[in-house]
Symmetry: C2
Subunit: 372 residues, 2 copies
């Protein structure tokens, strides 16, 4: 066992970041390929820099944020948060009282931990569902949350979406959609409507997922709800600061759905070739992935006593980083992060690496892990 | 009554920001003088811009943050948060359990609301003191917080500081110092030691107060405590994001205590002249201020039925902004902000405005408010 605690995982992350720092210092940004799909970006203009102060920043960028944000998500008003998790915490503090109940509906259980964790902090109760048969509100329910698309990019069917909103509104319960990646995956790839256009009261998205903005949360919806949530955010220091708001505005201005659509053909081709190298490769909406279980099956089909499947995935991700300069989540993510190796073909850096390079990197990394 | 609710205050803030936006667009940044002492800044280099991504950013800037941060605050390790309020929330979540007690000692009651608010959210109890006679720990106390310097820059005497740390450590209770502005006011102006050098376990400071960094919280102290607090921060989305971390690093690199010391002579001179215009002017560590009560006394010594003292201060701050392009807190602050008009002579923009301009602005603004 190499990974025994979240402390070991923190060391793994720190080692990965040290390697990236050395690489960037020696060979520059173009030597690195961040295919994690979570690279984030900070596309502010050089001329923006001297305006990113506490009062000048919002003065200049908040009206642009309203314009670009409502254009992207719909709704009456938007607000920006330090992270999507921070937006969710602010929402629970504003809309749910201790003792009340939050119901969460998602494409597949379990939820991202940030939702039940914030509900618990507020002293409310929590239940989650992934099928309409079991879904039921009670008299204590004060908020319904829908996850539009999971971390592994599994998307909620439209019929479920509409039904949950209908049931909740029949009881006057507000609906918030956690559309972290969904606000783009659902709309651009699956041609679903925006969450607010389906009648949700609030939607929140992560501006680093399928777009090149900073890691941050952008929320839109009903004006008076947004005001109450923003008030809580200011109280606990959860709102995005001016430089981040400027980064979000510029990323929204630059956002091109067509770039995601253009990557789909390449994804299909790469998924097919990668499948010849290794049959446990699965397609995702924006690329392909190797789950830790499939990796274990491929490398030690008879099982092994030395390494867990998470350790194998971590090893593979570290080899991809060190030997091929390709960034994936199991190498750089926080402790407890997904152990799936996902290569995102819609990411900006994917444009700089050719198909052959990706396939060779996979093939050679598999060989290295096999030998270890 | 003009200000009846926090909604009215939000409208006041929005009007001020609209005015600033128009001014910046038409006449550029040099037409504005932010003397709030809370201007914040984002001194990243243009060459930093393409490194401010989710994984490249920390790879490059986290080791610099450790180096510059521990040099500024002392301690074994530092961590950066979206705001000082967010750092305090993360600390309470990590170190205090529901049902336990937090004791807060400060130069003057009452506390900034962020501390009791976060204690309440965690389900703990809270007591605050400003004198050693009343100060007492109980068996439930699990954290002691000391405020080094208040929002109005009132500083805690060293003897109190040492005594509180001694009493707390005798009972093995960790001490966190909220040194938002104190980490510079106390050390640079009052020649007090750094909080960690006095034996505190943790200290947090605001990187926009008496230095030109972004609005953010920088915490330093005992390594294992910092790790636990940082873990909670990541869970709820409270940590500073890479662009903000880069801004903090550059601001720490640029920080010159001498600039604050150099401003003191000018402060004394200005305070004296301003006192001739209007006797309710009080000296602060970095400039001078007019409290709302003193303003009311000056303008309507016989009292008035039309405007509260907060309204008078807001009006004065708005006139200073519109007619003289000088930013002070009662004009641009969030709802519930201090109604003291404070002019910070150590702030960067103070270098661009001469003494006469400041005194004339005060004189003329007082006249305008008097007429209204």
């Amino acid at each position: 066992m190499l990974i025994c605690s979240s402390r070991d995982e923190m060391k793994r992350r720190e080692a990965a970041l040290r390697f990236i720092a050395a690489l960037l210092n020696q060979e520059g940004r173009s030597s690195l390929y961040d295919l994690s799909g979570l690279a984030g970006g900070f596309p502010v203009k050089k001329s923006d820099l001297n305006l990113l102060e506490t009062y000048s920043g919002p003065a200049i960028f908040s009206s642009n944020l309203q314009k670009e944000g409502t254009q992207h998500l719909g709704g009456e008003k938007v607000a920006a948060f330090n992270r999507t998790s921070a937006a969710i915490l602010a929402t629970l503090l504003a809309l749910v009282k201790p003792g009340e109940e939050v119901i969460h509906y998602l494409p597949e259980l379990p939820s991202h931990p940030s939702i039940p964790r914030s509900v618990k902090l507020q002293g409310a109760s929590y239940r989650e569902f992934d099928n309409l048969q079991d879904f039921q509100l009670t008299d204590e329910t004060s908020l319904v949350i829908i996850t539009g698309s999971t971390m592994d990019h599994k998307v909620l069917p439209l019929t479920d979406f509409n039904r949950i909103i209908q049931i909740s509104h029949a009881k006057q319960i507000p609906v918030m959609v956690d559309d972290a990646s969904g606000a783009r995956i659902r709309t651009v790839i699956y041609d679903q409507p925006r969450a607010l256009d389906m009648g949700a009261d609030l939607v929140v998205t992560s501006t680093d997922k399928l777009m090149d903005g900073p890691r941050a949360g952008l929320m839109a919806g009903n004006s008076s709800l947004i005001d109450r949530i923003q008030d809580k955010a200011h109280q606990f220091g959860l709102e995005a600061q001016p430089p981040i708001v400027a980064g979000i505005v510029r990323a929204l201005e630059n956002f091109k759905p067509q770039r995601i659509l253009d990557s789909l053909e390449r994804r299909d081709k790469l998924h097919k070739i990668a499948g010849n190298v290794f049959k446990g490769v699965e397609k995702t909406p924006t690329g392909f992935m190797i789950s830790a279980a499939n990796l274990e099956n491929e490398i030690t089909p008879e099982g092994n006593d030395n390494l867990t499947k998470r350790e194998l995935a971590t090893l593979m991700a570290m080899v991809l980083l060190r030997e091929h300069h390709m960034v994936t989540i199991p190498a750089v993510g926080m402790p407890g992060v997904s152990d799936t190796i996902r290569l995102d073909i819609s990411s900006k850096d994917a444009e700089r690496v050719d198909d052959n390079q990706i396939i060779q990197a996979l093939k050679e990394s598999l060989e290295v892990v096999r030998e270890i």
